[in-house]
């Protein structure tokens, strides 16, 4: 600038009206804002017509710790599947997931109702240490140059061409896994002649779910995981900052998971003495391999997945009432329903999963899931019974590895381009979608993943894809952007 006056801008126009006022009114707007917003949100949600955007954010499935526990435990299982394929000593994984333009109806400090675009941020991190115990067999040779397994008949194709470490014997593992969900608001800060930058604030409740788990592995025969799931909710400060030590609601769950002979796995999650979810997976292909010998990798893997989840509990954040919109004492159910009048329903699901890895070149999988709730479900919006679709989810994906068949050193890498489509049914879909009131959502995803022997990155974009919707149905009809990385040594 060299001493040259800056051209007038909005700030100057604003300041041109400057005249010191006599009345002093410092205002802490957060309490007022939150109270007004909560009142408006609650009124709109329970009394008014269905809004165009998710004013129900504060009363949504994000508050459902049962569902969130399932999500973080599912991610734990997903990561351990990779760990068991790659046999590292240390595995680090991180994922950043953004849903931009997550529109939230709010009330400003001046009482104005406004739809404000925010960003729903989800971050996931995992760190595992696996230490072999006692004598063990030497490692198998690494994958061949064309990316194929070292020998025909291997029951499972490695999750990548990394040189495996000790694949057999006794080992202990320790894992810390965490998932954070929360809304943030991005703001641009104009620094005058120094340009502009963007900054972000925390908005509304932030959710932190962590797993701390111990694992006992006797590879390749069985492994057992056991640990604690810590669900925490933190209210940000009025000014958009947050202190992690401000724990507003903390709950603890236990989980245990086991896998036997690579074909039978079971998982249970409990809150106190109540089992909230139970699942069992039966890998048919591996089971057949016990009788027929090692299964040829070219044969698709077929897995049955059964699950029971205590998903509907007449909580304020649930999208449905269980059995009836009228409580047993004859009053209408509402957000103030006492615990002794709450009714509960579980959701039973049975999934069929087929996956194929054709010579580390083409990847294909199909999943379909049927569902059955244990009780009638009544929509909170109109108290009418919901006709639950028997088919909860169908999805399929196809991937192509550009480095398959490439010569050294590319053969030790994998560049995987994937895409897929899905159909997903959820009772909360009408609350969170931006158009229409149907429970059914169609979507898809595209992904590009680069894997080196010990590290990898993935970029992924999706819209209404069932994998994302299962984790968080608030994603309905919103674009999801995700980046992830791993280091597995």
């Amino acid at each position: 600038m060299n001493g040259v006056a800056i051209a007038p801008d909005a700030r100057q126009i604003m300041l041109a009206r400057a005249r010191p006022a006599a009345i002093i009114t410092p205002m802490r707007f957060g309490i007022l804002q939150r109270s007004a917003a909560t009142l408006a949100v609650s009124a709109a949600f329970f009394l008014g017509p269905r809004p165009a955007y998710p004013v129900a954010y504060e009363a949504s499935t994000l508050h459902n710790a049962v569902s969130r526990s399932e999500t973080v435990r599912g991610l734990f299982a997903e990561r351990w599947k990779v760990i068991l394929d790659r046999h590292p000593y240390v595995d680090i994984y991180g994922r950043l997931n953004w849903i931009p333009a997550f529109k939230v109806n709010t009330v400003t400090v001046t009482g104005e109702e406004r739809t404000v675009p925010m960003t729903l941020v989800r971050t996931y991190g995992s760190l595992s240490v696996i230490l072999p115990v006692g004598p063990r067999k030497p490692a198998e040779p690494a994958a061949t140059e064309d990316g194929l397994p070292p020998a025909e008949g291997t029951a499972r194709v490695p999750g990548g061409p990394a040189a495996p470490l000790h694949k057999e014997g006794l080992a202990l593992g320790f894992t810390a896994t965490g998932f954070h969900y929360g809304l943030t608001r991005q703001t641009t800060v104009n620094r005058g002649n120094a340009g502009s930058e963007t900054v972000t604030d925390y908005k509304y409740t932030q959710f932190f779910d962590d797993i701390l788990a111990l694992s006992l592995l006797y590879r390749p025969y069985f492994h057992v995981h056991g640990g604690v799931i810590v669900n925490n909710q933190i209210e940000p400060n009025d000014d958009g900052t947050m202190d992690y030590t401000d724990k507003s609601e903390l709950s603890t769950r236990w989980f245990v998971s086991s896998e036997l002979f690579d074909f039978l796995s079971m998982t249970a999650t409990a809150l106190g003495d109540e089992v909230e979810s139970f699942s069992m997976e039966l890998a048919i292909t591996e089971l057949a391999g016990l009788f027929t010998g090692p299964v040829n990798p070219s044969i698709p893997r077929f897995t049955l997945i059964f699950k029971r989840t205590a998903l509907y509990n007449d909580e304020p954040f649930d999208p449905v009432w269980v059995r009836s919109a009228v409580a047993r004492d004859g009053t209408s159910k509402d957000a103030t329903l006492s615990d002794n009048l709450k009714e509960r329903a579980a959701l039973y699901t049975l999934g069929f999963f087929i996956e194929e890895n054709y010579k580390n070149h083409i990847f294909f999988d199909v999943y379909s899931e049927v569902q059955k709730p244990t009780e009638r479900l009544m929509a909170k919006s109109d108290s009418e019974r919901i006709e639950v679709s028997p088919l909860r989810e169908v999805r399929a994906s196809l991937g192509y590895n550009f480095f398959a068949g490439a010569g050294a050193p590319l053969s030790t890498f994998r560049l995987l381009l994937s895409g897929g489509a899905s159909r997903y049914w959820d009772v909360a879909a009408p609350l969170h979608r931006e158009r229409g009131e149907r429970y059914l959502l169609y979507g898809g995803f595209a992904s590009l993943k680069l894997e080196a022997p010990w590290i990898g990155v993935e970029l992924r974009a999706s819209y209404n894809h069932s994998v994302e919707l299962r984790r968080l149905v608030e994603c309905a009809e919103k674009a999801v952007l995700e980046g992830s990385f791993f280091a597995s040594i």
Partner: protein, 162 residues
Amino acid sequence: MLRRFAPGAVVLLLAGCSYVMDSIESAITARASFSIEAEYSGGMVTIRWDEGSGLSSFAGYEIYVTLDEYDDYDLLASRFENESGATVVAGDYKNLDSSFTGSYSYAPPPGIYFYRVGIIEWDEDDEEMQDRYGPFYFDDPIAYNAETSINKISGYRMVSVH
């Protein structure tokens, strides 16, 4: 065995959790990380903060303002710019060049205002800056405008002036 296992477990407890990943995302997206106070008294709005820069590359404090809770923020004052947008050649406007400064005051017109404070740092190290702009780069508004960025940003605070 336990001795080998325990350090790894401690590291996991400290690092492999939701809070660490949130911290990483917060750093990437420049999350507001400290609080300020703001009040209107005696015809002046005064903004106070306790957050020290803690930076060897500290370049100054900046004050931002907006009239709308959800609108962009504009620069209100920095060590090189006063409230009317004029350049302060000396680069010491209201001591915003000092890391010991913890408050800022000015006289606004009536209205509702939202304020933030930014802690500014030099993008390059001292040697590199001297090579590019000379030994007195610290007092050069051109260097400041071209080679600084926000290191920390405060949360926002509202003041209503009637």
